[in-house]
Symmetry: C2
Subunit: 370 residues, 2 copies
């Protein structure tokens, strides 16, 4: 048995980064780019005015000032999305809006603070430099330029840039499929009869929720009986997933067959890793290229092992360089419903419940916002 830190390092070192798939760019939210994104066109695609005013050639206003205003003839208008067809010659100008295309022959824009319209002419009181108030074609992105490197995480602003680049589909690292099996003859599920000595297989669902929170895809196989052949059949089937997680069957009791099953399915037990607190061990190993985690059956211990070892593993598989997840997914830690505390109380077998015990201390009362 090795310590938590060693186990963490060993598991991550064994974990592969999954290959890529092409997904609609909005579905890529929160996922990691598997290849660089390259601009296929210049941005902007044309010289664009950055303000409302008049487009002209800077030479036309070389000597303009408040004392010596210069009159230019207005030959047309260029609004955002509605370019002016005409070319601007010396002594001419085109009325232009922010976002409008700078017409041929113009190379500068004079803003309204230095330009007043008067009977078909514009009176200019300032001499702009070449390129003044113009965003040049390709100034922001040049065709062929790398916009986002492989390994970047796609957030809402990246989504906006991908739209600007007309990247309808993007290559991201695949999400691992994570099979979940719970074992234990005392376990029961929704569709089964309610018997007082049976316990709902809550791990099947809380582990699925943890898989979902990590951004991966759960495959809830279900409860598998504590029998070698049944375990072999179901766990063998579950190995079609990228990761297999079992809970239960890790203690020293007489019905503990999970490790035997792992070995019979091809796990090299000499290369596998056993870690966790005494009495609640977890096991990690590989069967072929599948990652296999055997977690304890106790729900708090299983969830803790998941958060410590499996969440970082799944994040690495999805291409994240930061394998520790961000805190407070879904605002959960700020406003926990009290579930973990309750699970701890429900399943901490080391501590017998006392008759008449005050349950209020175990369930924090949460009120909705006023």
């Amino acid at each position: 048995m090795i310590d938590v830190h060693e186990a963490h390092q060993l598991i991550l070192a064994t974990t592969p980064v999954l290959g890529s798939e092409s997904v609609p760019f909005l579905d890529a939210l929160g996922r990691v780019l598997a290849r660089d994104i390259v601009a296929t066109e210049d941005t902007p695609g044309a010289d664009i005015s950055t303000k409302d005013g008049f487009a002209l050639h800077h030479a036309s206003l070389q000597r303009a000032s408040a004392q010596a205003p210069v009159f230019l003839k207005i030959i047309g208008e260029s609004a955002a999305g509605r370019p002016c067809g005409a070319a601007v010659a010396a002594g001419e100008a085109v009325r232009i809006m922010a976002g409008g295309m700078v017409p041929e022959g113009a190379n500068a824009v004079v803003g309204l603070e230095f330009a007043t319209e008067d009977q078909g002419y514009v009176v200019c009181t300032s001499a702009p430099k070449r390129g003044s108030s113009v965003r040049l074609r390709g100034a922001l992105l040049k065709k062929g330029e790398v916009v986002f490197r492989a390994g970047s995480v796609i957030g809402p602003s990246e989504v906006g840039v991908l739209a600007s680049l007309r990247r309808a589909y993007v290559p991201v690292h695949r999400k691992p499929l994570v099979a979940i099996v719970t074992t234990g003859d005392e376990l029961t599920d929704f569709h089964e009869p309610v018997l007082p000595w049976k316990t709902m297989s809550s791990n099947l669902y809380s582990l699925a929720a943890l898989v979902m929170e990590a951004g991966a895809v759960p495959l809830c196989i279900g409860i598998v009986k504590d029998e070698l052949k049944t375990l072999q059949a179901h766990l063998g089937e579950a190995l079609r997933a990228d990761v297999l997680i079992t809970s239960g069957g890790m203690s020293k009791g007489r019905y503990d067959l999970v490790r035997e099953t792992f070995a019979s399915l091809g796990m090299d037990m000499n290369l596998s890793t056993i870690f966790g607190k005494p009495g609640k061990p977890a096991i990690f190993g590989k069967i072929g290229d599948r990652l296999v985690f055997g977690l304890p059956g106790s729900p708090p211990a299983a969830m803790l092992s998941f958060a410590q070892f499996i969440t970082p593993t799944l994040r690495k598989m999805m291409g994240h360089s930061q394998v520790s997840p961000p805190p407070a997914a879904h605002g959960r830690q700020e406003a926990d419903g009290g579930g973990l505390l309750l699970l701890n109380a429900m399943f901490n077998r080391g501590r017998a419940a006392m008759p008449g015990e005050d349950r209020a201390s175990l369930i924090p009362a949460k009120m909705p916002s006023p």
Copy 2:
């Protein structure tokens, strides 16, 4: 125009909490309970052993000790999920595993450290108290007890507890449907011809991504032309959603019709709120019971306004008492792809791009993890 803090308060005060819907409990992950969850059965459903050992009546061992061991006859076995049919009489015991049901007639369990099996008998060297190593029926949850209060956020551990309670469906606050409309004649979309003076409507998608990150449901209406009748038709249609967001048409230019459209659709402009930086104002008001946000067209300004005002609004609608979202959704802030910086550079019209400017400083190079 009011300041950001005032606007925040005013908008939240106007925002309703949406009603509830019943969803599969695993789909409730990250959502907020709309009603209390009450236990419909005792948990555990029977007296359960907390360790491997022997179940018996404590009176049978009243004088047992290491010096004076007591022999009890083993009459059966109770494993987890496989109860023993027989009742335990004085002088008898049942072999029991952790999680096994304590048989009728027994009220205590002696662990293996004080109990050794020998030819059909168990030799006990300790006198247990009544209830020793037994989790009594209902000790953790009594039928009728409130388990989670309305307003609790469902995380993975709550999912586990809900499974234990056999709550296949749970009532949670509804997700708002958020219609998104972008306006501006310069805007274009994926399916339209590529023209150099047109700009992709990135806001349509980055705002949809922000809606998704907040946990709500985007309804991308699309780009709507800068014409009163067209705007009225599409915005009127979009008001079937809970929230309507427009971007663009907020500046003082001649084609700005969004506010006129809002007024014609029934927004009381005297009760509406204008906020945001000079030159990039945003508007908030109501049309009927729909919340309406008019955001500026500049992508960074639109995204900033969304994060400041709309994310908290959506969270309140979904029942969150903590309306500020958790930081670093999707690990984005830790490992941002550089999109926001790039959007800022791409659309900050106050700053003209300089020819030959070093773009490297705008796009942080991100490498995948080694």
